[in-house]
Symmetry: C2
């Protein structure tokens, strides 16, 4: 298969972890006879410095022309103390999502057996948890009408039926391919927008007779993922609730630094680690490249390259099992590996 891949390393540790993912992709291409070409483009603080725009038109064009986007992370402490600046790395992120129509953010919540002890949850609770959170990513309060002066401010949490239908379709289809259990998370006892979500979901239910649907309020869900994470198979929710919930569900795995994600939508699909740009570690060969590498695996699986994806996952699992780990997850007394060394080990595993 030929794949044109837009490569956006972004800020912080991005430029270090991205090359490892590309080396892994190269090894896979060679082994399975594929042709992956990379088109690098700038974004984030990096792009603000270069051209004054965190998601420049040229980067947008590179993304639109590609079959997939492999993205790392954006963010820089220079912008952190002032979240009200008009031009910031995060505004580029939102522009990217909106312009590429990436309405479905898909976050698998999976645990690694050898890292369960890192979870804040008791091992017997989190063990075996395996679900997917699907967050609506281009609607709701993030993009609704805003207003602010010194005396008052508002945001508008608005959803149109078509936005709800398309994300629910993605969620129902994930549930069909997984364990046929969909949890629609909302606040329908208070919010009008949630009530429309629930109405549309109920209308769609009959089309997916083999999916069991339940409805849960977001406050209740924020507890239930802690007390009974194995209850869930597929969760779908709106943008703001999803922002909070996906971070909570990443945290309970104990390996947030290892979680990949996909954002799917109208145009080119995008794949990225759940973790941020970790500027403090930049340039130190410290960052864990696994989430970036697993994002590449998700990308290949998206195109039906399941054997290839599985091999990458196996290689990542093996690196953990064999203690080839970056410092933050290394066992006491174990040898630390750098970003590069972990990447090389995984490439080597795939080649042999």
């Amino acid at each position: 298969m030929k794949l044109n891949i837009a490569v956006l390393p972004g800020d912080g540790i991005g430029p270090e972890i991205m090359p490892q993912a590309l080396h892994v992709l190269d090894a896979v291409a060679k082994k399975f006879n594929h042709e992956f070409t990379y088109h690098e483009a700038i974004c984030g603080a990096h792009a603000i410095d270069a051209v004054g725009d965190p998601f420049p038109d040229e980067t947008f064009k590179t993304c639109m022309d590609a079959d997939a986007v492999l993205f790392a992370a954006v963010g820089d402490p220079r912008f952190d103390n002032n979240p009200t600046l008009k031009v910031r790395p995060e505004t580029g992120l939102l522009a990217m999502r909106k312009k590429l129509g990436l309405f479905a953010n898909v976050r698998p919540v999976a645990t690694f057996n050898c890292l369960l002890h890192k979870s804040p949850l008791k091992e017997e609770l989190i063990k075996g948890a395996d679900f997917v959170v699907i967050r609506e990513l281009t609607g709701g309060m993030y993009f609704g009408e805003k207003y602010q002066d010194d005396e008052k401010a508002y945001d508008t949490d608005i959803y149109h039926r078509s936005e709800i239908e398309r994300i629910l379709k993605v969620a129902f289809e994930f549930a069909e391919r997984r364990n046929h259990h969909l949890t629609v998370v909302d606040k329908a006892n208070v919010l009008a927008s949630s009530r429309l979500w629930r109405q549309v979901a109920k209308e769609m239910e009959p089309k997916y007779p083999d999916v069991n649907v339940d409805y849960m309020f977001i406050d209740n869900c924020s507890m239930r993922v802690l007390t009974e994470p194995r209850f869930f198979d597929v969760i779908v929710t709106e943008n703001t609730f999803g922002d909070i919930l996906t971070d909570e569900t990443s945290a309970i795995t104990g390996s947030m630094g290892l979680q990949p994600s996909a954002s799917l939508g109208e145009h080119t699909p995008l794949f990225e680690p759940v973790h941020g740009s970790w500027p403090q570690a930049a340039g130190k060969n410290l960052a864990n490249p696994l989430a970036q590498i697993l994002s590449a695996a998700m990308m290949l699986e998206h195109f039906g390259l399941n054997k290839e994806g599985a091999l990458i996952r196996e290689a990542c699992d093996q690196s953990l099992e064999q203690n080839v780990r970056t410092p933050e997850i290394q066992v006491e007394g174990g040898k630390h590996y750098g970003t590069k060394e972990v990447g090389e080990w995984i490439v080597n595993y795939i080649e042999n």
Copy 2:
């Protein structure tokens, strides 16, 4: 001291746990020479059945005439499958908050040593955690303009400066009386309303020089309370974020059924357990009365009756230590106590 207390048992287990709290108050009144008078009023599903309104005017009047409201819980499964009904127990709850001007919901997050093993979190993480979450309760999306038709729906997350100032004042003052650490939780990197919150908080900071303030995004906070709950002292946040966060922080104590809360504001202050109406247990003498009894303790402390509050807390602690517990928290093989029996034990402890 003379206190006129409006008593709202509400639905489900409310009518069973409330009498236990009143017996405890009676015992305290006798011991410390106070005069507490009770004025019972209906609300919730109960009140819908009786007069078609979940928060009738007469109940409102009873509350306004009282020095404090002691409330249990509302909610009934008859209304659960349809969160879109116009008249539901929860709409009464919102009306009660709004009419009584209860803008500050105060939820202490405290653990009981002998119940730490019930927490979903690892014991070494949750042990010693002791903080307060202050949720704005009468503004934001809950009460902003709403619209819904078949094609679109919206809610408006609106805050006025005065609403933000008064809740932040409560939070700063709590931090002054506690460990001088206030965390303002928002989503200022995306929401205009959050930006106004942050602006107002920064303006107020100099007035409280002995309070250390930090700002945290809600998604980050939803992780941090799991990975480092001891970091927090006082958290303040807006209504919707607070709804999600307070449920999450109740869950991590492992004893949600034991947490009391206060709602303070313009008129009569209100005290209520964090748990709901648990209709499945109603009439079975099964429900744990501790959260209701501890809500009464919070109420007394609100009026400066600190010795009285402390004695009630001691009695509750001792009931747990001595395994006088309702079934859901009884140790394996231990004897179960009913709602009444736990209440009686605590009354007896106070009397002697």
